[in-house]
Amino acid sequence: MTSPAAHVSEMGESALLIQSGGPMSLDVQRLYWALDRSCRDLPGVTETVLGVHSLLVRFDPQAEVAETAARLQDLWNETRPADGQGRLVEIPVHYGGEDLTELAACHDLRIDEVIALHTAPIYTVFALGSQPGFPYLGGLDPRLATPRRSSPRQRVDEGSVVIGGEQAGVIARTSPSGWHIIGATQVSLFDHARDEPALLQPGDRLRFSVEEVSA
């Protein structure tokens, strides 16, 4: 596969953003995982932040932006998709919660159908972000895609299993959120005291399983 078009733009004086358009595609994301790995070895690069079809590259403030941008573009043109598969992590879910009934009704589905559709796919962690350890997951069944709530909740607990737009997720840190809560898990997605604080890495795969249902 030849690399799709990518655009490089400035993000302040010492960062560049390279990004490609949608829709969300695993093939494109594999290129960004590979680009991320090779970028980290570039001289002067201090930090990289993966997004969906994008990579933010922070570099030494004394480096020349134009030169770094050209090098990034060259690197992109040479990038081949990251191979291999990440680990498969199972997340047992206690289905229930405030929005499960509402979400089922909105799609004209029974609750057991919603659960079956949610547990069927193997999701892929595209990137981590927004909050410590929070995975941007690709692979949600389009029949479950639900626009975010019109007003976000002030407090959504850590471990909440959620759906927002075309994405599935698990809240890693108690925080405000506009996503719909369909269950909860005991699995901790982030613990600053662990050697590897984030449970998941980009490229890892994830499957939800039914631990309990209450509705």
Partner: protein, 322 residues
């Protein structure tokens, strides 16, 4: 050791923040006015990465339980030591039982107190900064409460007693305040091109009001609605402190130190690093103006901050020699 008597509206342990962990969703955190904390540490001969206190909007007080040298920096909080005024940009050795109080700042947002040797809280993920959203770092991963005690990494006994300040005459840059109009410089970002010349000119000509809902996560701005020539639905991408986002409301939000690592709104630009301290001190309700700037000049501005901190460190070193 110090004991917090009153935390005020928000006080926390901060250093220069976390680097290199945005890829797992861990944000920068750290002092909003990093220049003030750097100057305070320089005044005490501390390491650059020493942790100090960030006090938002004043109303803060502590008492000392052991002798400790401190430096007071940042906003003018009308601080007093045992009831007597203590100017900002001042270093002083405190004795046990002394009480330092801050009033409510009117001309800035954040005061800083560095302590000799730095505050001794555990390093979490490479920094002592409080990540209040993540619930780690600083003092138990949270804002300070009355009764909390903090120890310093090096007690000041045995070093020379300090009592000196940085005067407005010698260091005029430090004494500008954020109560009037604040101008910050920004480097245009990707979606700047989605606005026509008229809209761009409007953005730079507007005196944006900083809304009361602004905080360490972001500054919300009120002004005319900015309308793009095309509306884009963007995929989530990495962002940085200083990123000026434009949500569908048409009113800009400037992301600050506790911002998310990833966002999805269109971005007009990124405020240059050297001007984030100005933004950190711009008071709620005051006016903010943006000036377009290029990356090369921004790098020079950052060197100026480094030069200021080094000059202060050099100029005050004789004060610390016993």
């Amino acid at each position: 050791m110090i004991r917090i008597l009153n935390p005020g509206l928000g006080a926390a342990v901060q250093d220069l923040g976390r680097r290199g962990l945005a890829n797992i969703g861990v944000g920068r955190s750290g002092a909003m006015d990093r220049r003030a904390l750097r100057v305070a540490n320089a005044m005490l001969g501390n390491a650059e990465e020493a942790a100090g206190l960030e006090i938002t909007l004043g109303g803060f007080s502590f008492e000392t339980l052991e002798p400790v040298a401190i430096a007071l920096a940042g906003a003018d909080t009308e601080a007093t030591l045992d009831g007597r005024p203590l100017p900002r940009w001042w270093a002083r050795t405190l004795l046990p039982g002394q009480v330092l109080r801050m009033g409510h700042s009117r001309t800035g947002m954040r005061g800083y107190i560095a302590v000799s040797g730095g505050l001794d809280v555990p390093e979490v993920l490479g920094s002592r900064a409080t990540d209040a959203k993540g619930g780690f770092g600083g003092h138990d991963g949270r804002l300070l409460k009355a009764g909390d005690t903090l120890t310093t990494a090096a007690e000041s006994s045995g070093t020379r007693a300090l009592d000196y300040g940085l005067s407005p005459r010698a260091w005029p840059d430090l004494w500008a305040d954020g109560s009037g109009e604040t101008e910050v410089r920004f480097v245009p970002a990707m979606e700047w091109a989605d606005y026509d010349e008229k809209a761009r000119a409007l953005f730079c000509a507007t005196g944006w009001t900083i809304e009361p809902a602004s905080n360490r996560i972001g500054y919300r701005l009120y002004g005319p609605e900015m309308v793009p020539t095309i509306r884009r639905e963007l995929l989530s991408h990495g962002i940085l402190p200083g990123t000026i986002q434009l949500p569908p409301s048409g009113r800009p939000v400037v992301q600050m130190l506790d911002a998310n690592t990833v966002g999805g709104y269109p971005k007009l630009g990124v405020v240059i690093d050297a001007d984030l301290p100005l933004l950190a001190q711009a008071t709620l309700g005051s006016t903010l103006r943006f000036r377009e700037f290029c990356a090369a000049e921004a790098r020079a501005a950052r060197r100026e901050e480094d030069d200021l901190v080094s000059a202060i460190r050099r100029a005050t070193s004789h004060q610390r020699k016993g």
